[in-house]
Symmetry: C2
Subunit: 396 residues, 2 copies
């Protein structure tokens, strides 16, 4: 049998991060590679209590088929929070529960793009989104981040002009993955104007928006949008549980109604029990207090990783100082071979993600690597950063 | 804003069944339209007990990110059952846990087909699969079912010859949806030979394989396959819970390894907690006894619906006599306008699915409609069939 693989899937490789994650069955490896939330951040006791109650009182609804749009009460909760907490107007908008934030990204692309169409992305950007676009036969065209942490506006307009088949501008304006930076408010307004001018939908991916532990909050692009340009993707992975796969996508009714049809043929609907569990948690527990606890935890972990980097890492290695999210983005000096460094780190049993993984152009080189501080323990952070510094010193 | 919808999604309508399902919020409607398992078939008590134990002992694993391939212990359970119960050889095969059977179908198509490629299907066939193929820009070419309940072999070969871009042959050989029939053993062997000759992968969809309540079991096509031609899709929706969205796909390593990459960009992995719950149920409870109970229930419900049809339905309406699965397939005489009949049935508050929904060619007419017996109560079956007979009589 000669298996004929589709052109769009032929060259797509599994995410480097997910592959590293698989290699982590070796418990002696310190992983700064994942994007996992801290295990301490799962509200296990409450979820166990509410689950027992769902089995006792609503088991049939929880175990039977649901509707593709999602559990109605949870959709209402999501919209109320977007409106109250993020100042997003729900006029003309609708919300669909997705199987994690990832699914919403893939579905919007499927809804709008045919093979050969283009998605404009920040470069670097989230590998899961880049691969989703590629898996649908789309071109990912990268626009570099500027010094201020937001996308380079001039290059963005050049790209929009040059790409008539660009339909979506994919952005992670808040605690960008992998760079950890935030797009300044004025740039958010400017990006919105450009998208309007070139009739391109903005997909604002905001999985880390609740995780600010320093600095001033910046309004989401969606909250500034008066022209129905922005589709907003969010997730409960980083605040309740990643393994449950519950996210959402909110945008103009006309678009999202089409997106529902695309979801229907992918998985009919998202796990019904956990949708109900989310709803119960949001309405019966204190989610704000819970999130405040997570912020405190990550503030500590990020602070520890930064202070260790400050203490032991040679000055030639540059890194971001995030005010939220999960990641620190590091840049090696040109004198160090990045591939050799990643290998040396792995020999010392520290896993990091090489910067190439986040490039729109997969063949482009990178001097960067990404560190995660939410998953490792304090001890692992201290030991692991030490090993990374040793690896750098050995290569100078 | 002028939203540019992809060509492949532009004309795709939501599944008629899911739309009817939404309309069923009116509790006075008797629905024979869904494909829902009977609520009595959910093993609530055991799931509640095992869930509590997972929270107590393995909460971090259950709530954290998992690997895309699926929870390893559940993959082993699935393979053991495919091997022991269905006599399927696991040599050179691998299994991935999917978010319901639906996802496996969509993923295989994405892995193999580009826009403009063809999937050959039985006509009529499962609307969820047809729409999945369409959502990826594929043509669905239908081959009619023959009198024996299996696909018409001669027309199948004609179609394979005529379609060089046909990459997948999608079949539901056991309790076909919507027809309720089984493909005879000799025809299964012949189909396998044809697929080999024309280098086309068979996707054998078997969500109802465990639900035989009469007649002799027929080997799956996958169990007859010596040439790595068949990919097998299954689901726990009809035996444990539909709402949890747990299915699986098993096939040649080379293909399934690629399919994992496609799954990764759709939802990263399937709900981890429920994967673990399935594993616990399969290994700690008596799933065979549980399935035997479901079979007994459906034997009763199907028998009741058939005896009511025999008793009150005018002879001019023909219907299948299924030996398993969830559906009876009815054909109206040419003298009755099918669209009028469906409307009249709905006025009498009985919902059925019009046959057009299952046609590969969506513009083709149909004299058929599908009845489901697993969801309605005994009383609803008796009342509802009576109303349908009244509708027919009024139109004669």
């Amino acid at each position: 049998m000669n298996y004929r693989i589709s052109k769009k899937m032929q060259d797509l490789r599994p995410s480097a991060i997910r592959e590293i994650f698989k290699a982590l069955s070796d418990p002696t490896i310190i992983s700064f590679a994942a994007g996992n939330p801290a295990p301490e951040s799962f509200p296990v006791e409450e979820l166990a209590r509410l689950s027992a109650d769902i089995y006792a009182k609503e088991s049939v609804t929880a175990l039977q088929y649901g509707i593709t749009e999602g559990y109605p009460a949870l959709r209402r909760d999501v919209e109320a929070r977007l409106s109250d907490r993020f100042n997003i107007s729900m006029e003309g908008q609708t919300t669909v529960i997705t199987s994690g934030g990832q699914q919403g990204i893939e579905l919007l692309c499927k809804t709008m793009c045919d093979e050969g169409d283009t998605v404009i992305c920040e470069n670097p950007s989230f590998i899961g989104a880049l691969n989703a676009f590629r898996s649908l036969g789309c071109n990912t065209v990268g626009v570099p981040l500027a010094e201020d942490g937001g996308i380079d506006l001039e290059k963005l307009e050049d790209t929009m002009k040059a790409c008539p088949r660009a339909k979506i501008l994919y952005l992670i304006p808040t605690f960008q993955n992998p760079a950890g930076t935030c797009m300044p408010l004025e740039k958010r307004r400017a990006v919105l104007e450009l998208a309007k001018k070139y009739n391109i939908v903005i997909l604002e991916d905001n999985p880390y928006g609740e995780l600010r532990f320093a600095g001033e909050e910046i309004p989401t692009i969606k909250s500034l949008d008066k022209d129905n340009i922005v589709v907003y993707s969010g997730s409960y992975s980083k605040v309740l549980s990643a393994g449950m796969r519950i996210g959402f996508i909110c945008g103009p009714e006309e678009l999202i109604t089409k997106l529902v049809v695309a979801k229907q043929v992918e998985d009919v609907h998202t796990n019904q029990f956990f949708q109900m569990l989310c709803h119960r948690y949001i309405t019966e527990c204190d989610i704000d207090a819970h999130i405040a606890g997570i912020r405190k935890l990550y503030k500590h972990k990020c602070g520890l990783m930064l202070s260790e980097l400050d203490r032991v890492m040679p000055d030639c290695v540059k890194y971001t100082r995030p005010e939220g999210g999960l990641f620190i983005w590091c840049t090696l000096p040109d004198s160090i071979d990045q591939g050799e460094f990643i290998k040396k780190a792995m020999e010392k049993k520290v896993a990091v993600v090489p910067g190439q993984a986040f490039n729109c152009d997969t063949s482009a080189p990178s001097q960067c690597f990404r560190l995660n501080y939410s998953t490792p323990s304090d001890e692992q952070i201290i030991t692991g950063v030490g090993y990374l510094a040793d690896a750098v010193k050995a290569m100078l």
